[in-house]
């Protein structure tokens, strides 16, 4: 392959890197109204009265909107395919405010200073209600977070609103209790994963205006242009045909921009005033008024026989969705769906529990989407089981894990009575290679490194999906331009990952050209066909498959057109990317000549070649990773340093080894951040304490030492050129692998993330006392 599996540079790399104005705020018109949001200072309150007269009277203020000014139709900001599983539980502005930071009023003014002054002039009288802050005591709490009766759900997600249960889940196979009872060894532990912030560098933002036809145009840093259009249509009660959504370059997303957290606010201002408006969230709003990862508690019970054959895995989970239910049921169920199939030899598995509403910032989609939470619990329990069995944890996994060709009833694509078959996996090779790269034989479990330092190694494995089976869909259009170069139109949303480049590589491979001949144009809901957007690890797999179909269609059209032009039968010509030639060597037309004749030459071709391809998968093939951490722990302070992290990945065919490697490195570091530093914390009044980079620490470059990445490619038969996904799976292994390495180093098992030096040191001290 000449284009696929090649380390090709990103199409936009030089321009984004050298500071060209290609992001949302760079494109907003200079006279756009500045939109600011007045927010609730209370975790739970009802607005008794709100007086905006003084604010509206201030010179330069264009509008001040309150709950009285918005449609009384509930919607969700979650970017999911319609009908969304997330409950329609919010209004643009509500009389009830459900967390500190919830929106109370929208102010639009000619500049920021005026908008901020106006906010101070709004008088709000609140009836303060008792908030639900502890998710472990939310169920059945005296306060009901969503007492309103116009909340809607599209289908049964197990909601029990009056008990603060937003959704529930119960899945599994076999008789877990029986298998546990018959197990010789049982591990039973409870694990906590924290809320994590996306912390993308470009904060949330959108710019809106009316176009020449009076339609609402939304320029947004979003992963989900088509979902934004649909969400706005419902929230604002205007037809989709009156909305256009454009996505420029995105300054990072990580799933955060899979929720339409900001678009609705400038949009309603533009509709009310007819003027251009922009809303740029500051870092504090980005931390405290959007979404985070769902914090979860997972109790694992795992049973095995003395040989290490796992009999049963039971996961009882509880998830905190905060004040609104964005992605609540799906993140929750994915924590089971994409972890339980890993251990296919288990006779019985179960994943069960509730998602609860609390009066804190809503949770939402974040890279890993529940698997990160589920894997921390499951893999930590596996490591503990290995300890109990006195067995090498790699061997315990090798004995029980799913392998290529095996079927599992929980695996994506399964139907009742017909478990899906795992079509591709090299997880066994990933583990073997990872052990070599980390030096497992020499280092497991610990090596004293002199002085007060000790080193330990640990491991974890994981899987994810590639798009959402039966739901995600993408369409791609490729047109042949008049000088023999192509335009590829897609509404997938490269958020820095390089997915535009990868699609170009695939098209170029099929069309036997080079990527400089392919213009990738994303994303505009008026011009470009539907794509669910870039999330759920879908773009390479779903949009990639659509790209191949479109490119193959284009290839066919080029051959047919040239054959007609040359008056040769279609099966007597061949196309090599540069020209179509008759097999007998008598005639030939270059792609440039074909393109010119189709477009520029008067009266001849009359037909521009436009090819389309659509794809929606029936399955979501899992990529796999074996992750290995080597840590050094300072016994005086409990400080943990990851001195090497090895990840060996099966993402099927690697479309672009260079970009894939950076995806892995970036995801691992985000996982290391979750393991060691990152923690969304609240005061006892429900105010977020960690609403800036001073208090919420993402890893800095001095925290990161060696990262070792290797690929062990399987070939996924349903994937584009055999590829599977890579975007999310990369974040999952660091928390459990690092926790395992810390345990192996100093004997402290931290089951509540993050693994702070304090937890490690006090664990050591308490163990000494005991």
């Amino acid at each position: 392959m000449k284009q696929v599996n090649q380390p090709i540079s990103k199409l936009d790399g030089l321009n984004t890197t050298t500071g060209k104005p290609v992001y949302t705020d760079d494109l907003a018109v200079a006279n756009a109204l500045v939109v600011k949001i007045l927010r609730s200072p209370h975790a739970y309150a009802k607005i008794k009265s709100i007086d905006t007269n003084k604010a509206e009277a201030l010179s330069g203020v264009e509008c001040v909107l309150t709950y009285k000014d918005v449609p009384n139709v509930r919607f969700t900001m979650a970017g999911q395919s319609y009908p969304e599983p997330s409950p329609y539980d919010r209004l643009i502005l509500d009389q009830v405010v459900r967390y500190v930071g919830d929106e109370v009023a929208i102010v639009a003014a000619i500049d920021e200073k005026t908008a901020l002054q106006a906010m101070k002039l709004i008088k709000v009288d609140y009836e303060i209600l008792e908030p639900v802050l502890d998710f472990e005591h939310a169920e059945g709490h005296a306060s009901v977070v969503h007492a309103e009766d116009n909340l809607e759900i599209n289908f049964d997600i197990g909601m029990d609103r009056m008990n603060n249960i937003a959704a529930s889940c119960d899945m599994g196979v076999g008789d877990v209790e029986k298998e546990l009872a018959e197990s010789a060894v049982v591990v039973e532990e409870t694990y906590y994963t924290q809320a994590q912030a996306h912390a993308m560098m470009e904060t949330y933002r959108a710019f809106t205006h009316l176009d020449h036809a009076g339609r609402l145009t939304v320029v947004s840093s979003t992963q989900i242009p088509f979902h934004v259009r649909r969400i706005l249509s419902r929230a604002l009660q205007i037809p989709k045909s009156n909305i256009k959504v454009v996505k420029p370059r995105i300054g990072g997303g990580f799933g955060g921009k899979q929720t339409a957290s900001v678009e609705v606010f400038p949009a309603i201002v533009t509709l009310k005033t007819g003027k251009a408006a922009k809303l740029i969230y500051d870092r504090k709003e980005t931390f405290s008024c959007t979404t985070s990862r769902h914090a979860m508690r997972i109790k694992v019970r795992m049973g095995a026989d003395l040989e290490g054959n796992i009999k049963a895995i039971d996961m009882a989970a509880l998830s905190d969705t905060g004040a609104y239910g964005e992605h609540c049921s799906t993140v929750f169920s994915v924590a089971g769906y994409k972890t339980l199939p890993l251990y296919n030899q288990a006779k019985a598995t179960r994943y069960k529990g509730n998602v609860v509403y609390t009066n804190k910032m809503p949770a939402g989609a974040l890279r890993g989407y529940g698997v990160t939470q589920g894997i921390f619990a499951m893999e930590s329990a596996i490591n503990q089981l290995a300890e109990k069995l006195q067995m090498d944890p790699a061997e315990l996994r090798e004995r029980n894990m799913i392998r290529e060709g095996e079927s599992n009833p929980i695996l994506s694509g399964s139907k009742p009575g017909k478990p899906a078959v795992l079509a591709s996996s090299t997880l066994d090779r990933c583990i073997a290679r990872g052990k070599e790269l980390i030096g497992w034989q020499e280092k497991y479990p610990r090596v004293e490194s002199g002085g007060h330092k000790v080193r330990g190694v640990g491991m974890a494995i994981t899987m994810q999906g590639s798009g959402i089976a039966g739901i995600d869909t993408a369409s791609v259009v490729i047109k042949l331009n008049e000088e023999g170069f192509y335009t590829l139109l897609s509404s997938s949303t490269d958020m820095g990952t390089g997915s535009d480049t990868i699609l170009a590589q695939m098209a170029a491979e099929v069309l036997e050209t080079t990527i400089d001949k392919i213009i990738v144009y994303t994303a505009d809901t008026d011009i470009i066909p539907y794509d669910t957007g870039s999330y759920a690890s879908s773009t390479t797999y779903v949009t990639g498959n659509a790209t191949i179909k479109a490119a193959e269609d284009m290839r066919r059209q080029i051959i047919e057109t040239a054959a007609t032009f040359m008056a040769v039968a279609v099966d007597e010509v061949e196309f090599n990317g540069k020209a179509v030639a008759a097999l007998d060597g008598t005639k030939s037309m270059t792609i440039d000549q074909i393109a010119e004749r189709l477009t520029m030459t008067m009266g001849e071709g009359k037909t521009q070649l436009i090819a389309t391809g659509s794809f929606g998968g029936d399955t979501s093939p899992p990529p796999f990773i074996a992750g290995f951490a080597e840590v050094e722990v300072d016994k005086l302070t409990g400080k943990v340093e990851v001195i090497d992290y090895v990840a060996v990945i099966d993402c099927g065919t690697v479309i672009n080894p260079k970009l894939a490697r950076i995806q892995v490195e970036g995801g691992l570091v985000q996982g290391i951040g979750m393991a060691l530093y990152e923690d969304v914390r609240y005061t006892d009044k429900g105010k977020m304490e960690t609403n800036n980079f001073m208090q919420y620490k993402i890893p800095c470059r001095e925290d990161i030492s060696k990262i070792t990445v290797a690929f062990e490619s399987s070939y996924e038969p349903t994937g584009p050129f055999g590829a599977k996904s890579i975007g999310e799976v990369v974040i999952n292994t660091p928390p459990p692998a690092i926790a395992h390495a810390v345990y192996n180093a100093v004997g402290v098992n931290v089951r509540s993330l993050p693994i702070t030096p304090e937890k490690v040191l006090l664990g050591m001290i308490n163990a000494d006392k005991a």
Binding site: L116, H452, L636, T637, G638, K639, L676, Y677, R681, E689, M694, Q695, K697, I698, P699, C700, E702, D703, T756, P757, E758, L761, L762, I765
Partner: protein, 262 residues
């Protein structure tokens, strides 16, 4: 959001002082890195940038650090790296990043007496005096106790000596604020042990230091000193660490610092 009614670039220190006294809401501008975190309503903001206070000067027996000197300048200054085992440059090296350290000024940091300060902890184990425009020179530890309301800190004066010093701190992420910091020194006048970010501001552990003064300390002496230091100083909890944890790591860090100086 903070506000500034008037902004004045002072031409002389006398002018700056006069302006400062003119209104309660008037204030001297430091590096301004923390200004936007608060909602101060400043009447006249007084800028000392043109008063040549950003110099580090070595005299025969002192090193003088002007109030407007940045942490970055402290970090890279030759004299400060030469003396006291470079304890001052070492103390500031982990503060966020070079751009931040280029903004932060020595004067504002010391004048504000921040609890989390790395720099103050290191200064405390040297012979440091604070020079104030009106009140003159006072020892740093006294200044830390009493402060100097509505005066202008013009420079720090550190006595040159053959003091050996060590700086120890505990941060989780490398550029986070410290959970605890410790400075140790040993000179002709004896040992000094300073502990900061407890989370209260740095203080000297006098009794503990005395235990080290009789000759070459043995392991038992170090242990006694460490335990005494933790007893005589108060520790507390904040979001970065609990009192129990701080006490636990204080012992380790003090011991490590003493051994480094020995």
């Amino acid at each position: 959001m903070f506000t500034i009614k008037n902004y004045v670039m002072a031409n002389t220190i006398e002018d700056a002082y006069r302006l400062l006294q003119e209104g309660k809401s008037n204030a001297i501008l430091g590096g301004c890195a923390f200004l936007k975190l608060g909602a101060k309503r400043i009447g006249t903001a007084i800028d000392l940038s043109k008063l040549n206070l950003d110099q580090i000067n070595e005299t025969e027996d002192t090193i003088e650090i002007g109030a407007m000197t940045s942490f970055r300048a402290v970090e890279t200054n030759e004299a400060l790296n030469k003396y006291f085992n470079g304890v001052l440059p070492r103390s500031v090296a982990s503060i966020i990043g070079i751009q931040f350290r280029s903004a932060v000024t020595v004067g504002a940091s010391v004048y504000s007496r921040y609890g989390f300060s790395d720099f103050i902890t290191a200064l405390l184990v040297l012979d440091t005096e604070v020079e104030l425009f009106k009140s003159g020179r006072i020892p740093l530890d006294q200044f830390l106790q009493d402060g100097a309301p509505r005066d202008i800190l013009t420079k720090l004066v550190i006595k040159k000596s053959d003091i050996k010093a060590s700086y120890q701190m505990m941060r989780n992420s490398a550029v986070d604020y410290p959970i605890l910091n410790v400075a140790i020194s040993k000179g002709a006048a004896g040992w000094k042990i300073a502990v900061g970010a407890r989370p209260q501001r740095a203080a000297l552990a006098m009794k503990a230091a005395k235990l080290l003064d009789s000759g070459e300390p043995k392991d038992a002496d170090i242990e006694a000193a460490v335990n005494t230091a933790v007893e005589e100083l108060t520790f507390g909890s904040n979001s970065r660490g609990s009192k129990v944890y701080r006490e636990a790591i204080a012992k380790g860090l003090i011991a490590r610092g003493i051994r480094e100086v020995l």
